[in-house]
Structures are given as structure tokens and as C-alpha cells.
Amino acid sequence: MPSTHQDSTILTRRTGLTLLAPTFAFIGLFLLFPFVWVVAISFTDRTLLGAAAADPQFIGLDNFRQLFDFDSWMRSGEFGRSLVLTVYFVIASLIGQVFLGLGIALAFHRRKGFLRETIFTLVTLAWILPEAAIAFTWTSFLDPNGTLNTALGAVGLTRPDWLLDAPMASIVMFNVWRGTAFSMLLFSAALGNVRPSYLETADVLGANAWQRFRDVLLPMIKAQLATALILVTLWTFNVFTPFLLTQGGPAFQTDIMAIHTYRIAFRYFEFGQGSAIAVIVMLINFVLAGVYLFALKRGEGAR
């Protein structure tokens, strides 16, 4: 019933707006303004260096047209290829992070103690340790003679040269390692809210583990699943850290969108074009978030 009390007098509108004022100020200054600037600049040939820096011109949709130049856009290092690679990267990372995060959360659902603390701490550290430090240790981990291959060799598996032979797999692995904590914490909190009686009911009815998950837990964490999907998708689309491992290579095989944009904006200082990419990426993210939310709403409607 409290949910109907939308206009509760806990906060007067005035206090509420006062509390929101700093938020609005920061958003206006440091989000809205740069955002509008980026959108505006995506229609110009603005650069940081060279003649166009001194006198940028409005060029309409040329930046976008150039990105979607279908003759060359699938070549290595070009926008189209980068988009395809990003889609691979996002889907693989998403599956990895969300499944692993959910798996760990489920494995330790209603468990306590040292084991849980250790695993949660390790996974969380992978998330929060600074990337400048992490990049080196991962380069070492993936080295042909690195820890990973040593471990693989010990159990009799092949020892690939990860960064050369399987660069995309490498950065997906890295990104899953880095990002699983968020899903894990999210699902762990969501599962914590499931009343034990629901599971016990399922037990009494003789459900096996999978049925218990599908019929009891899954419906209860559906909203969190959507959240995880949206945020992880968004973050993965924009994640730049793999740059520290591969710099987008070898041969642009890991030229994902953030790295691609970085190259255009930083190496070439082509801000117009870089902004155009940023705008497209945002539109894609916008659509994806919309799709997830729509699916969620429909799922709820059907229930």
C-alpha cells in the first residue's frame, strides 16, 4: 500500500529540489554542456591541430557519411569493423560477466563464512584495483610463458600465445575478470531478498536445482537481470581498459569502439569525427537500453 503514496509529504517539493540542486548543477555543467557540445561538433570538421583547428567548418552529415562509407568501412581499423568487433566483445563479455556473476551469487546464496568472503573479496578487487596496475599484471598473466600458460600446461593443455593468437578472447577474458564483481554484487543482493520460504516451497514440491532456479529465483531477479544487462552493455561499449593490454591490436583485431574513438580523437585529433562516433554509440546504447526495458515491462505484463 505505501507504494500508492507517491506524493508523500516526507519531503516537501522545496526540500527535494534543494537536495537535487547540486545534482542538477553538476549535470548541467559537466554532463549536459559537454554532451551538447559533442553533438554539435559532430557536424563540423573540428580538429585539435591543423587548419581545421583554427577555423572549423560546418559540414553537415559528412562525418557520419564517412563512417558509413560501405566501400572501406569493414577494413581493419575502420569504423564498421570496429562496430562488429565491439558487438562480439560486448556479447561475449555480457554473457561472461552476467553468467559468472550470477553463478557465484547463486553458489554462495545463503552461505556465509571464510570461503565466501575470500571469493567475494578477490572478485571485487579485480573490479576496483586501478587499471594502470592491472594492465601490467595481465600482460604478464597472458604472456606465452605467463601464469595462465603455466597453469594450462600443468593440466596438459595447449599453451597459446594469447595476445597474438587470440587477442579478442584475451580481452574478453580480461573484461569478464574485471567486471564480474558488479553482477555478482547485484545478484547477490537480489537473491538475499528472496524469502527462504519460496525456495523451501519448491524443495517440498520436489523441484531440482535447475527448476528451482528457473521457476523461483529467476522471476524474482528479473528486474536486476535487466539492470545488469543494461549497465554492463553500456559500460562494455565504452570500456577502454583493454587498450592497455593490446592497444587495439594486433592488426586491429581488438579495435573496439572506445579504442577506435580514442585513436581518432587522440592520435589524429579529429574531434568532429570522434564526436560523430560518440553520438552513434550513444544512439546504439539508447536503443539497447530501450529494448531491455521494453522486454522487462512486457515480461512483467505477462506475469
Partner: protein, 454 residues
């Protein structure tokens, strides 16, 4: 004197200082990509221990107080370039800027920097140092005949080789291939004898400009072609020479396994090539003199265990065949250079120039030479203390050329790196890679400014 009095006196001192006549004092800041005890530590040492005290003393003799400040920049080259661009675009920044020569055109076109004489006035041309700087080196930091700064020095490129490995493979040392044919044949011999991939010619985008300078140019110039046609004023997009150079890469990395492509493609590849050379797994490595004087310097991380001077030799990079190289040379090399430019936003252009020219005085350059011997731009400053360095300067500067100082260079350089990467990784054939390169060129400078082989 109690604390409160001290404060008052301090304030008074500041006031009187501020009220002093302008001509009697000034302050300047210098920025470089250098950190005490870190990157380019020698430059910090030179500036802080030699240049600054000497300049301050020099000005004090003239009755002027000058305070100098060094801004030690710890980021990458790209980052420094970007910071300059941002600062200069809003009219701030340190007075004297450490500057890479090939940045100049882009900065000029953006209107960020101005010629020395516009910043400091005609006093610039009265400097006696100009007599000791050759015509070609004056424009290390220049564009379209204007000079924006002074270069600290230049460099040359060559093939470094492991004497021990070559001997082991039955080659004669000192070694000097006269053609690509010979180079490849000798590399094969080492490969077969020692079962290693002996040769590294830089490729790919991961090492950035190092690929263009130590790899692409060294191959391309050997075919007699440059990236730019200076007579016609156009970029060369397609050319038999380009194809030939790409085929060299193809031969080395793909067809014959003479080189290990891994080191060219992964992000820490250049390091690995250093390590591989140190550990005797690479026998021939195309690098710049910096590799000799700094990377393998005695006592450093990358020095071979047996000692640099014992096991490392160097050979000139041959053209395809004698006389076929750029400008008809038998051997090829390319030179670049970094230096210092003046910030047009400086409060006192004349003073800034005074400092800059002081840094490039004979005495100061000799002092630098003691800290770090290398090829300086003053012809009266010899490379002291390292006979090999002197020999490199002597033999290679004669055949060396420079990059096109043009606004689009940075991007086109990247396109060339990408072209080599596409071939080395096997993504494209040399022909396809060249066509893609020409397409990129057209999108950067426009089809009118690119030559293609119809």
C-alpha cells in the same frame, strides 16, 4: 622576530618585488617530457644543473633577476602534444616548449605557434649560433621556410647486429650487406644455422612512429621512393617501390619466417624485440642510434650480458641494390629531431629567445654532451666519448633524409604503419594493402594530392 612580524615583512618583500621595474627581473618556465630520476632524466639534469644556474648568473651580471622554472611532464608524447594544443588554443602555457619536429606543421596551421622572429623580434637573426647550424638542420622545427624553434639534435638509423650470432652462423664480421638480396641471404643463413627468426624490421601501429622511422622508411627509401613527392607536392599512394617494400615485409615475416611477427604486432612488442636482441634470439635489428646510446647503454636493462661493445655491431641499411636507394644512394637512413619551440603567448618574447639561444650556446651544448653524448645540431659540438656514435654520424648523415614536414604527416604516417601491419599479419596482400593505403591518403588530403598508379 615573531611569526606575525615575519608575515608582515614577507608581505612587504612581495610588494616591493612586485613594484620593482619590469626590466630588472622576469620569470620563464620551460616544459619538457622529462622527469627527475625518470624519463629523460638527462635533460632535467642538464637544464637544472647547467642551463638554469648559468643563465641566471648571466642575467645577474646584467643586473637582472630571472627566475626559471622547469615543468617536468610525465606523460606520453601524444599526451604532451595534446596538452600543448589545448593550452595554446586558449593562449596559455609555458614559455619554452620541448617540441618534436614533425608536430610543427599541424601547430602552425592551427595558429598555435609563431616563427621565432615574430615572437622575439629581429634580435633572433643576430645570434651567432646560426653560423654553426647547417641549412637543413635549421628547419628541424620549421615549416615552409619559417623557423619556430631549435632542435637539440638529430639521429640516424641502421641495422644493429649480434657479432657473436653472425659468427656462429658462419658470416664474416664486421658485416655489411650491400643489397636486400644479400641481407635476406645472410638472414636465411642465420635462421638455418641457429634456428631463430633473426631479423626484425619494425611494422604495425603498436609502436607508432618507431614503425615509420625504423621500419617503413628504411624499407621504402631503399627502393628509391619517399612517402612524398617534393617536386610535385603530392603524396605517393601507389608506386612499385611501395609494393617492393611491402613484399620485403611479406618475405621476412610471412614467406620465409625470417622475422617474428609477434614482436611487431603485440602492444609491448618493441620491448620484446629489445629483450630478444639482448638475449641473442634476434640477430639483426633495425633501430636508431638511440638504441645504441640509450637503450643498450652499458649497465642498462637491455644491455647484452656479454657487454654492448663486445657483441653488438652495426651496418648501414642497404638499398635494394647499390645505387637504387633514395636520391641514388647505396645505403639509406632517415633522421628526425626534437628540440624546443617558443610559446607565442609568452609575456616576454625577447627574454624567452635569450634563454633558448643560451641553451643552444656552445658551452651549454658541450655541457649536455657530457651528460649524454649524441649528434647535436651545432657543427662545432662533436660527439664526444663514443667513437661509434661519431662514426654513425659521419657515415649515415650523408645518406640520410628527413620526413615531410607537412600537416597531414602524422596521420599518413599512421596509415603507413597500418599498411605494414596489414601485410605482416597476413590480412592483406601487398597489393591490397597499398590500395587501402592510397584510399586512406585520399580521405586525409583529398584525391588531388595523392598519386595513384591508375
Amino acid at each position: 622576530m615573531n611569526a606575525r612580524m615575519a608575515k608582515w615583512f614577507g608581505a612587504l618583500a612581495v610588494l616591493s618585488f612586485a613594484a620593482a621595474p619590469v626590466f630588472a627581473q622576469g620569470s620563464l618556465s620551460v616544459i619538457c617530457r622529462c622527469v627527475e630520476g625518470g624519463v629523460n632524466a638527462e635533460m632535467v639534469q642538464w637544464l637544472k644543473d647547467d642551463v638554469f644556474p648559468a643563465f641566471e648568473a648571466h642575467k645577474a651580471e646584467q643586473g637582472e633577476t630571472v627566475t626559471l622554472e622547469l615543468v617536468e611532464f610525465g606523460g606520453s608524447d601524444e599526451a604532451l602534444q595534446q596538452q600543448y594544443a589545448l593550452d595554446l588554443s586558449v593562449g596559455t602555457g609555458p614559455d619554452v616548449l620541448a617540441f618534436d619536429g614533425f608536430w610543427t606543421p599541424d601547430f602552425v596551421e592551427a595558429g598555435y605557434i609563431q616563427p621565432l622572429d615574430q615572437v622575439a623580434g629581429d634580435v633572433v637573426w643576430a645570434w651567432d649560433g646560426w653560423d654553426h647550424i647547417s641549412e637543413g638542420l635549421r628547419e628541424l622545427i620549421g615549416f615552409q621556410g619559417e623557423v619556430y624553434g631549435l632542435g637539440t639534435g638529430t639521429d640516424v638509423r641502421m641495422i644493429f647486429y649480434r657479432k657473436d650470432l653472425l659468427e656462429e652462423a658462419g658470416l664474416e664480421v664486421p658485416w655489411q650487406p650491400e643489397s636486400w638480396e644479400e641481407l635476406l641471404a645472410d638472414a636465411r643463413q642465420v635462421r638455418d644455422a641457429l634456428d631463430i627468426a633473426p631479423l626484425q624490421l619494425n611494422a604495425g601501429t603498436a609502436m607508432g612512429e618507431a614503425t615509420t622511422m625504423q621500419g617503413w622508411f628504411m624499407a621504402l627509401l631503399g627502393t628509391g621512393v619517399h612517402m612524398y613527392d617534393f617536386d610535385e607536392g603530392v603524396w605517393i599512394g601507389e608506386h612499385p617501390g611501395i609494393l617492393q617494400a611491402l613484399e620485403l615485409y611479406d618475405t621476412v615475416y610471412n614467406e620465409e619466417g625470417l622475422g617474428d611477427e609477434r614482436m611487431q604486432l603485440v602492444s609491448q612488442g618493441r620491448d620484446q624485440s629489445f629483450g630478444s636482441f639482448r638475449d641473442g634470439e634476434t640477430a639483426m635489428l633495425v633501430e636508431g642510434d638511440w638504441f645504441w646510446r640509450s637503450v643498450m647503454a652499458p649497465g642498462s636493462e637491455w644491455e647484452p650480458a656479454a657487454g654492448r661493445d663486445e657483441v653488438v655491431g652495426w651496418a648501414k641499411m642497404p638499398a635494394v641494390e647499390p645505387g637504387a636507394g633514395y636520391a641514388g644512394h647505396d645505403f639509406v637512413s632517415i633522421s628526425g629531431g626534437t628540440g624546443f619551440a617558443l610559446n607565442p603567448n609568452t609575456a616576454d618574447g625577447e627574454l624567452a629567445w635569450e634563454l633558448l639561444s643560451f641553451m643552444f650556446s656552445y658551452d651549454m651544448q658541450m655541457a649536455y654532451q657530457e651528460i649524454q653524448p649524441r649528434i647535436r645540431i651545432r657543427d662545432d659540438v662533436p660527439v664526444t666519448g663514443d667513437p661509434e656514435m661519431s662514426r654513425m654520424a659521419e657515415e649515415l648523415l650523408a645518406v640520410s633524409t628527413v620526413r615531410p614536414q607537412l600537416p597531414a604527416y602524422a596521420r599518413i604516417s599512421e596509415a603507413a604503419q597500418r599498411m605494414t601491419e596489414r601485410v605482416v599479419s597476413g590480412e592483406m596482400s601487398p597489393q591490397e594493402a597499398m590500395e587501402a593505403y592510397a584510399d586512406t591518403l585520399e580521405s586525409i588530403v583529398g584525391a588531388d594530392n595523392v598519386v595513384r598508379a591508375d
